[in-house]
């Protein structure tokens, strides 16, 4: 079961995008993989229902959290957009009222990665 309400995340992307934080790696992946060149475009895409066929993967406690008295959890999902099977990982900090997109890239189960690997192609 996911730790956080994904619907609340979507609403935040739509209505309170200033409270959605995209870290540097997912920002770069958003540009190179999903052709979303800025953080705002990533958030708008998500808020507009761009993560289709959403499928929950797992929840883990966030290892990098320094305040162990207040654990933070990472919810991970797979989704589809056109030909890409993607992966998104989210952290919710209730105290700060922020959602953090920790990962946003192709899922390791994306068939194009498998085929690309077989052909010796470099993939995103």
């Amino acid at each position: 079961m996911p730790k956080h309400d994904f619907g609340a995340f979507l609403r935040c992307c739509d209505k309170e995008p200033q409270n959605v934080i995209i870290l540097r790696q997912p920002e770069e992946d958003g540009r190179s993989i999903f052709r979303l060149p800025t953080k705002n475009r990533i958030i708008q895409f998500i808020g507009n229902g761009g993560l289709e066929q959403l499928s929950f993967v797992n929840t883990e406690e966030w290892r990098n959290n320094f305040d162990k008295s207040y654990p933070l959890y990472v919810d991970a999902y797979e989704f589809r957009t056109l030909s890409i099977l993607g992966y998104i990982a989210l952290i919710r900090n209730e105290r700060l009222g922020t959602w953090i997109v920790k990962s946003f890239h192709r899922s390791k189960n994306d068939p194009s990665l498998v085929i690309g690997g077989l052909l010796g192609n470099r993939q995103n």
Partner: protein
Amino acid sequence: MSNLVCPVCGSPNLTQHSFFETISESLGGHVQLEKKNYICAECGSEGDLFSENEEAAEFAIAKLREDLVVSILEDFTKNNVSLAAIERALELPQRTLTKWKTKSSNPSAAGVSLLKFLKIFPWLLEVAENGFEYGLSQKLYLENALKTFMQKMAFEESGFRSAGVITTANTTVLYFQTQKNGATPIFADERVHIEARGV
């Protein structure tokens, strides 16, 4: 920086530095953009945590697209395809493309994408000119695909497979390379024998 806290973990231990990132536009150029980056000493989170780079990034992208549009339109003009003719075929208001070319107005994202498609597949103009009629569009598509195939296949390179099969759900195309004496190209369009049969 004393008022800033990491929006991920709440720590005030943030360091800020600048770096240069290359912003590229497909089919267009690129530009180096100086960006602010924060790193949280506590949780290691890194990024533009306070969205300070967005405006500059959007401006850089808009400038690249503006230049790309001009470049594409100039290419058409150089190849004797008039902007008025393109506007007619695409049913755009006349002078739309002139305004884009002179930067007196900016195309929407849809307009930029349209020009990119035309840059890659200029034969789409002929599709538009013929009213997007399906049968003719398919014929134009196949003609251009075959022409590209003939021009691009490295028939003379070592390692090229001298015979092969291309197959879809409904059709199989067999191709093979033959030797021919004389100076005429082996693979001029009308000389190649391609056998297609339904599966």
